[in-house]
Symmetry: C2
Subunit: 150 residues, 2 copies
DNA sequence: CAGATGTCAGACCAACTGATATGC
DNA sequence: CGCATATCAGTTCGTCTGACATCT
């Protein structure tokens, strides 16, 4: 543990993933982004999927239905999303992002990109893209139902 | 939102990182690993760094000194680590992993590797190595003091 | 009626905050 | 004395569990 050396690190992929996520989590605060990171991810999904069912949203976010309600309550109070009954099955809710939500999302995404630049400072632009691609492909293989009791 | 398509996902690298970490976190439970994931990472660092100072450990784990104490208390109770006074500065503690800690670590690492295989099922072995390398390089650029008020 | 969906309230766990003890 | 290190107690936050209402 020489002061000239880097601080010790984990070596496993899963450990590294957890650690790097910790860095992001601690820096992507509500003060920095304007909204919480989880809210940003939620709005991102809603922006890309018009008429998203609440349960689909929960599956994508990997949160159980209970937490999905709480998450949407927050966003609803801020006027960033709306919940509408699904006319085809009135038990269900369709979640849509509002113009105010879009605005908050754009702003938060800008800040997050700046943060990404700092967190991935050690990687070349091409490598960052590579990382994004690998993460996306890995996520693509996940079974949402496995993780959230759908 | 066609049922034939994948569930909607985030597109930003930071969001993907957060999401994939969520998958790992929810699957790498204490029942699966025998110990908590954070404990595993802690033991990994201690196994690779004999005579690690408590504050260096905290910086590596990106936890503030308070949480580091609690984390070590748990490991101490299980007999996985020992805290010794630093003879050079008796305010400090040197943390060492015990044989029992080594055993628990090996066992947990086996289970985590199996889990990694499932979580990264969509990636080829070479791509997994690539991912590990990119994450390690990104972590290498982090300033521990920024994140934990050292 | 049984099953699905969404909602809420209370319990639980992990993290943060502030105060204390010890050594430099 | 001021500063650093570690520790603990109390609080707060996010998440999970179980009960309930609505709809098919």
């Amino acid at each position: 543990m020489n002061p000239a050396t880097q601080t010790p690190q984990t070596t496993g992929t899963m450990g590294l993933l957890s650690q790097l996520n910790r860095v992001v989590y601690r820096r992507a605060t509500e003060e920095v982004l304007g909204i919480k990171l989880k809210q940003l991810i939620t709005l991102e999904i809603l922006a890309r999927n018009e008429g998203c069912l609440q349960q689909e949203l929960g599956a994508s976010l990997m949160v159980d239905p209970n937490n999905c309600v709480l998450l949407l309550n927050e966003l609803d109070q801020h006027g960033f999303v709306e919940r509408r009954r699904d006319p085809e099955d009135r038990r269900r809710h369709i979640v849509v992002i509002t113009p105010a939500g879009m605005k908050a999302l754009r702003k938060a995404e800008e800040k997050l990109e700046a943060l990404e630049g700092e967190v991935l400072a050690n990687l070349e632009p091409a490598e960052r893209e590579q990382l994004r691609d690998l993460l996306a492909r890995a996520m693509d293989g996940q079974d949402p139902n496995f993780v959230c009791g759908g």
